[in-house]
Subunit: 218 residues, 2 copies
């Protein structure tokens, strides 16, 4: 764990429920080797990794989680095989079935992540889910009387993707991102972290497609 939240209530990422779950799909008969090689080659130090038959859980600090995800997907992509990765990032809901945080902790952001360029083009569909409850949220009035609007932080996140130059359109239920794998993951992670500073439970889903033969050339 390399990061602690910037708050007087210093929760570890694990206590705050920070983590990822991802499924790496390799469209190649040699998929077992490609996937095992990619998982083995990525630096998992400081992380909790649980690989199962459906997906892999990654727990730890935001920067390390994203470095790991980027390394695994980039390594698999370097095989040349067409692949997709279905990635979920979650924060603010620790525990199995209950979101139980210590008293007095409602929403915690974190430092933004930074990833090295990979040179790998990733076309992606992205969705962001701020799971507001009855507390004040983005768009609340100043006395916290309104619960907010879950679309406001989503629109702000899309604006950031546009500024980053990777916004590629809005499809139904998902925003299209197209750029270097590191830019895509950074944008998705940093908007998720930002929304997390005002909404406790925030989840984002991303489907990345790499090396697709049907991909339109630049």
């Amino acid at each position: 764990m390399t990061q602690t939240p910037s708050t007087s209530t210093a929760l570890s990422p694990s206590q705050y429920g920070v983590g990822a779950r991802f499924t790496l799909s390799v469209y190649d008969s040699n998929y077992v080797e490609v996937i095992l090689d990619a998982l083995a080659a990525a630096d998992a130090s400081g992380l909790e990794i649980e690989t199962g038959d459906i997906s892999t859980f990654v727990g730890g600090g935001e920067q390390r989680i994203l470095e790991f995800l980027c390394a695994v997907v980039a390594r698999a992509a370097q095989s040349g095989a067409h692949l997709s990765a279905s990635i979920l990032l979650s924060r603010g809901c620790p525990g199995e079935l209950q979101c139980e945080l210590p008293q007095g902790v409602s929403a915690l952001g974190a430092a933004p992540v930074q990833l090295d360029r990979t040179g790998i083009r990733a076309r992606s569909h992205w969705s962001l889910y701020p799971l507001l409850d009855d507390g004040p949220g983005p768009g609340s009035d100043s006395d916290g009387g309104a619960a907010g609007d879950h679309m406001t932080p989503i629109m702000a996140a899309i604006e950031r993707a546009k500024e980053r130059g990777i916004y590629s359109g809005s499809d139904r239920f998902a925003t299209r991102l197209d750029g270097d794998l590191s830019d895509v993951l950074e944008t998705v992670a940093n908007t998720w972290i930002d929304v997390g500073s005002s909404v406790q439970h925030v989840v984002t889903h991303l489907v990345v497609s790499i090396n697709s033969p049907s991909q339109i050339a630049d």
Copy 2:
């Protein structure tokens, strides 16, 4: 469009933003044939289908959408190849970037879907996101003063999966379902529809794994 919502404001599924987006990943060098065959063999009547390089959009009534998804995934699974499908179901948020519904429409359920057994075992990770805003929601007090708790409908949905006999555990950020592909899809769809009767914008994500060599035998 085979269904109309049971309300005086008769919106079509399309007007209400009912639809699916899915990525079918086939872990086989022959993936193009398997995917194209599965898409071509499924009955798309009454549906709007848009296949892109990252995912496929399916719009229409709930029953037809689920029949189509089940048929595509089952057909691909019959190839014997290991595959995963990343599926998103969404309702209550039509339009591209804005959730604009006609005035007076807040939340619409639908009739439950029913699917024929496939004989195909599907192990899955499932997440349900009721996107509450500042209106009354499940768990509200009677005068609608509280905005509700997004975990209450999630817990109710998990109970239904247990009653159905396909609940297989709670992993971090996802519930594990294990059963016939049709039972998994029916449970995911019908809890999504149920929550939709009291929460306008509801999204559910499912990752299904079929024919995995690492799958633990019954």
